[in-house]
Symmetry: D2
Subunit: 338 residues, 4 copies
C-alpha cells in the first residue's frame, strides 16, 4: 500500500502511520521528496484497509498496489482458460454464437427456435424462463414450465442450454433440469449470496456485467464465484449505462481486450441488450468479434413481431444465418474460426 502524506505533514503524523503499518504486521518504507513524504507499506496488503489509514491525521490518501482478485487474475493462469460446456469449448480459437429467444413462450416457439439455432450452425442455445422485468406488472417468465419447454426443444438438436438464475432458492431446480450454463444477469452481478451459491456447484456460469459496474467490480464478482470452488466462469459484456439516450446502452468494446489481459477466463458479448434494436445487432456483433470476443449471446426469435418481450431486438432466423456468415469471415481475418 502507498500512503501519500499531506503537504507539511509532521513527523508525529508520519510516525502515526508507521505505527499503524507495523501493528498490521507490515513494514514501512519512507520516501522523503522535495514536497511530499510517501510511505510504502510492505507485506500482506490485505491486512491493511486504506480507510483506516486515510483517517489518520496528515494522510492525503492511501492506495492499494496489489489487485484484490487472485483466482480469476490472468497471472494465476497465464495461458488462458477454456470453459467446456458438454465438450464445446469457450475461450479457445473457435468462437461460439449462443442464440435463442429472449423468453421461453411456448413449446412450439422453442422448437422453432431450436431448429433455427441449429440451422444457423450455432452450438448452444439461450432462452429465459425467469425474467427480470422493471415492472411488477410485466410478464415475469414461465418459470419451471419454461425450463421444461426449453429442455425439450434443445434436446432435439442436442444443444446445451443457457438460462438465467435470479433467485437462489431456484438453484436446486436448475440442477434437476440439468441447465448446462447458469446465467447471472446484470442486475444480480453484485447479489453476493447468489454468487456464493453458484460458486458451490459444478456448472459453468455466465456472469453479465452490471449496468454500471467497473471492470474491477466485475472481476471481484467473478472472484466471489471462484472463491467457492467453481472456476468455470464466462464474462459477458452487455452494454453499460451512460449519458447517451439515443440507444439503450453503450456496448463497451474496450472491455474486451482489457478483460482478456486481466483474466484468463473467456469473454463473450451480448449485442442484443446493448443496442436494444435488431438493426444494430449485426454491426455490434461484428465489432465484438473483431475486438477479440470469444463468443456472442444473441437474441433470435422465430417471429420477432410476436415475441412476448424485447420484440424489437430479436433477429429473425434468416438474419441470424446471414450474420454468422459475416462473422465467420471476420473471425478468419483475425485468425480464428466460428
Amino acid at each position: 500500500m502507498i500512503i501519500v502524506m499531506q503537504l507539511n505533514a509532521t513527523d508525529a503524523q508520519i510516525n502515526g502511520v508507521v505505527s499503524e503499518i507495523r501493528k498490521a504486521g507490515l513494514k514501512e518504507h519512507i520516501s522523503r521528496g522535495s514536497e511530499l513524504v510517501i510511505i510504502g507499506a510492505i507485506g500482506d496488503e490485505n491486512k491493511l484497509e486504506p480507510a483506516h489509514l486515510e483517517i489518520l491525521p496528515g494522510v492525503e490518501r492511501a492506495t492499494r498496489v496489489t489487485k484484490q482478485y487472485k483466482i480469476v487474475a490472468r497471472d494465476s493462469h497465464p495461458a488462458g482458460s477454456i470453459v467446456k460446456v458438454r465438450g464445446i469449448p469457450i475461450g479457445g480459437n473457435q468462437i461460439q454464437i449462443i442464440a435463442g429467444p429472449c423468453s421461453v413462450e411456448t413449446q412450439e416457439q422453442m422448437n422453432l427456435s431450436a431448429d433455427a439455432v441449429a440451422a444457423a450452425g450455432c452450438r448452444m442455445m439461450r432462452g429465459g424462463a425467469f425474467k427480470p422485468r422493471t415492472s411488477p406488472y410485466a410478464f415475469q417468465g414461465l418459470g419451471v414450465e419454461g425450463l421444461e419447454y426449453f429442455q425439450q426443444a434443445a434436446k432435439r438438436h442436442n444443444l446445451p442450454i443457457v438460462t438465467e438464475l435470479m433467485d437462489v432458492r431456484m438453484l436446486d431446480t436448475f440442477m434437476e433440469y440439468d441447465v448446462d450454463v447458469i446465467q447471472i444477469g446484470a442486475r444480480n452481478m453484485q447479489n453476493f449470496d447468489l454468487l456464493k451459491e453458484v460458486g458451490r456447484v459444478n456448472k459453468p456460469v455466465i456472469l453479465k456485467r452490471g449496468l454500471s459496474a467497473t471492470i474491477a467490480e466485475w472481476l471481484m464478482a467473478a472472484e466471489y464465484i471462484a472463491a467457492g470452488g467453481n472456476h468455470n466462469i464466462i464474462f459477458c459484456e452487455r452494454g453499460i449505462r451512460t449519458f447517451e439516450t439515443t440507444y439503450r446502452n453503450v456496448l463497451d468494446v474496450t472491455a474486451i481486450p482489457v478483460l482478456k489481459r486481466e483474466t484468463h477466463l473467456p469473454v463473450i458479448v451480448d449485442p442484443s441488450h446493448s443496442g436494444g434494436k435488431a438493426w444494430m445487432v449485426p454491426a455490434l456483433s461484428q465489432a465484438a468479434i473483431a475486438a477479440g470476443a470469444d463468443g456472442l449471446l444473441v437474441e433470435m426469435h422465430p417471429n420477432p413481431c410476436d415475441a412476448w418481450c424485447d420484440a424489437d431486438q430479436a433477429l429473425t432466423p434468416e438474419e441470424l444465418k446471414k450474420l454468422t456468415v459475416t462473422l465467420g469471415a471476420i473471425a478468419g481475418a483475425i485468425g480464428r474460426s466460428i
Copy 2:
C-alpha cells in the same frame, strides 16, 4: 401511447399500426402534420408494448404517456404518506436522523453506539449484520450474532433498529429478531425476488437507490414491494455513480424534490456513503435537509479509527451531536423540526 411515424410513411404502414392498436383493444387517433404522421393509441396502455410497435415498418418510435407505477405514485395519495416505526413518524413535519455504525462488531461497540445515538437525540438506530462487500475476502458481517448484539444494545434506549437484508432466505430470521425496518441495499434495488418477499411482510422497508438507477426504475422497484401489499416504503438516496472520481459518489439532491413530487412516500438521504469521507458528511447532511429530505441515515461509530469497515466515513459521537444542532436550525429555517 404515442407512435411517431417515419418521414414518408405509407398509408399501408399507418394501417399496420392501426390494426396492431385495435388488436390490443385500444383505439387510434391519427394526426397528420405537415411533415409527420403521429398516431395516438387511446385506452389501456398496459395492453401494448412500445417494442411491438417499434418493429412495425414505417414506425420511428413509440412512447408511453402514462406512468407505470401506480400505488407509489403521488396521484394515489396526494396528501403524502407518513410511515410509522413503533410510533415514530417518517415523512411528516418532523425529520428523523437514523444513526449508527456501518457494521455490528461487538456487544460493547453496539452499546456505546446506542448510547451515542440516544445522546444526540436521534430516535432510531442503524447497523449492519450482513454486509455487501465488493471482495469475497473482506469481512462479511457477523450475521445472526450481529442481530443479537444490535437488539440488545438498542433495547437499552428503546431505539427501533434498521438493518440490511441481502438474502431472501434470511427474512424469517429478521422477523424472529423483530427488526423494525428492513433495509434493501443499493446493489439489491433490482433484486426482484427479494423485493417481492419484503412486499409480503408487514414491516417498513428502506429502499436504497441503485448506483445508477433512474428515478423511474427506483419508483418501479418500490412498486414491486407495494404490489405485494406492503406500502410502508421509504426511499433513500445514497449517491449515484458518475464520471467524477474525486469522491465516491455524487449525492443527487435533485432527486429529493423530484421524488417528493412523484411519490407520496417519504424520502431520506444517506450522506455517509455518497461522499465516502466523514468530513463531507455535515455539508451533505445540511444540503439534504435544506432540499426537503424527511430524514437521514448516517454513520457514526464510538471510535471511527477502530471501525471494522468504512472507518473513514463514520462521524464520532461528538460530531453527530454537533451536526444535529445545525440540522435543527436548518429544519427551522424551512418550517420543520428535528
Copy 3:
C-alpha cells in the same frame, strides 16, 4: 409537438395550451384518452418552444417530434455523401486510415512520420501543431512553426494533412498554410463561434465528438457548420466519458451504425484517444472497421518512447503496418476495401 397534459387537467388548462399553439400559427389536435389528454401541435414546430408550453398550468410535458438538424440529416441525402480530400474519398467503399503523431515536434520527426505513414499504405496524415492540454504548464504545441514542418514532411509523399484548429483567430493562417482538413477537437465541439467560422470556408472539417456529447448534440454541432455553407463534414467518434476508470474513455461503437442511419456524412473513429494505450489500438481499430466506420484517425510515432505527448498511445511504424493488413482483411469480410 406533442403536449401531454397532467392527470385531471381542466378544460381551461387545455384551452390555454390550444391558444398558445394557435398564437404560434400551428393547429391543435386533441386526443382524449381514458386517463390523459394529449394535444398535438401541427405545423412548423420551430415556431414553438417546449419550454413555453411546459410552464403552462396543467401541462405534464411537451416534446418535439421533428428533428432539429436538417442539412446533415440522412433524409436530405439518402444515398450518403462522399467527402473528397484532394481526390481521396471518405465515405465510400474504400476505408481511409489517417495516421501520424500526436504532435509536431521537429522536422526530422515529421519526415520520419510521413515516411512511415506512406509505407503503411495510408493516404492522409495527421499531426497537431496546436495542442489542447489540460494543464497550462504542459507543452502547448509548436504553433505556426509546426504547420511549416508538417507541410514540408507531407509534401514529400503528397499526403493531405489533417490538423486541429483551436482558436478562431488562427483560421486565416490555416488557409495560408493550405491545411487540407481542419479538425475540431472534442473540447471545442460546442464552441459555436469556431463552428460558425469553419462553416464559412471551403475545407473539409473533421468534427470530433465531445467527451459527453449526445448523438443529437453532435449532429446539431455539425448543423452549425453546415448552416454556414460548408457541407464537407466528417464525424469522428473518439470515446466518451463514463464511470469506468480502467481506461481513459469508452469507444462508443454503437454510435457508428446509429450515425450512419441519421446522417449522410462519413463517420470515422479515433482508436488512440479512446483507450489511451497503444496495446488497445488494434482491437479498437478492428472493432471500428467491423462496425462500419469509414476510416480511422490513428496515432503513430517514429519512436513512441521519445514522443513529446501521449507517448503511451502511439503505434510504432511496424505496428501500424501490421494493423493495416488485418484491417484490410476485416474490410474484405464486410465487402469493403482499404
Copy 4:
C-alpha cells in the same frame, strides 16, 4: 511520481525505469515488497510524464503524487480569498445572490428585471447577450445591443453585471462596455485560448463547470486563467451530466465542500440550469447554501411565460423575493448572512 512495476518485473526493467528517472533529473527510491516492486521518483515531478514511464517494459502504472494546480490551490492561500466586484465581496461570510434573466431581450424587460433584482435585495445582476444554443436556428442573443440594454438597466440600481463571453474576439467589447464579471460558460470551460485571454485582463471571472468536467480538470481550467495573472476567479457549479434523464442535470453539491478544501477561491452555484425547471430552484438553492456555497447565479424573469429562452426555469420576481428570505434563514443557521 510512483511507479508500480508488474509482477515478475526483471532487474533490467527496473534499471530501465531508474535510468529514465535520473535522465529527468530526479532521484529514484526503490521499495521491494513481497509481491511487487514500487519505485518513487523524487524531485520535480513536472519533469516526468507518466505516459513516458508507462510504455517502458515491466511497468504496470505511473501516478503523479503532487497536484498540477498551484496558484488556485488552497495551499497557496490557506485563509481563503475574497473576490471583490465593485466593493461587493464574494467568498466571505456574506452570501451573494446574483439574479436576472437568461437572455437580454428588450430595454423594458431589462429594466423590469433590474427593478426586481434590487427589490429582492440582490446586489448583482446576470443576463446573457451572447447565448450558446444547441441549435444554429435558435435565438443567438442580441449581441452588443444586449450589452447596451443591460448596462442601462443595471445602472439605475447601481448593480454590477455578469454576462457570458463566448468568443475571444469580443473581449475588447466587453472591456469597453465595462462588464463587471465575465462568465465563461460550461461548454467553454476547456476553450483554452479563451481562458488564456481572460487571464490577461483585470476583471473577475465566473468559471462554470463543464458538463462532465472532473474537479481536477475544472481546477486546471482555473489555473489557465490564473497563470495569465488574473486571480479573481469564482467557480460556479451548474449541474453535471449523468445517466439520469428525469431532470436536465444533477446538481453536484458534493463539489462544494470538496472545492472549498482544494482551492482558496469562492464557489457559487447555478440552481437554474442544473434542474432545468423553476419549481426545483428553491430546493436546489437551499441545498447549495446549506452545503456552503458562497453565492448563487439564479434565473429570474419579469414574466417567465414570455421569456425568449429557458422560460420554464426562470423564477418570477415574487418567487425570487420569497426564496431570498428562506435562504437568509438557512444562512443564519450555518453562521452566515445574505
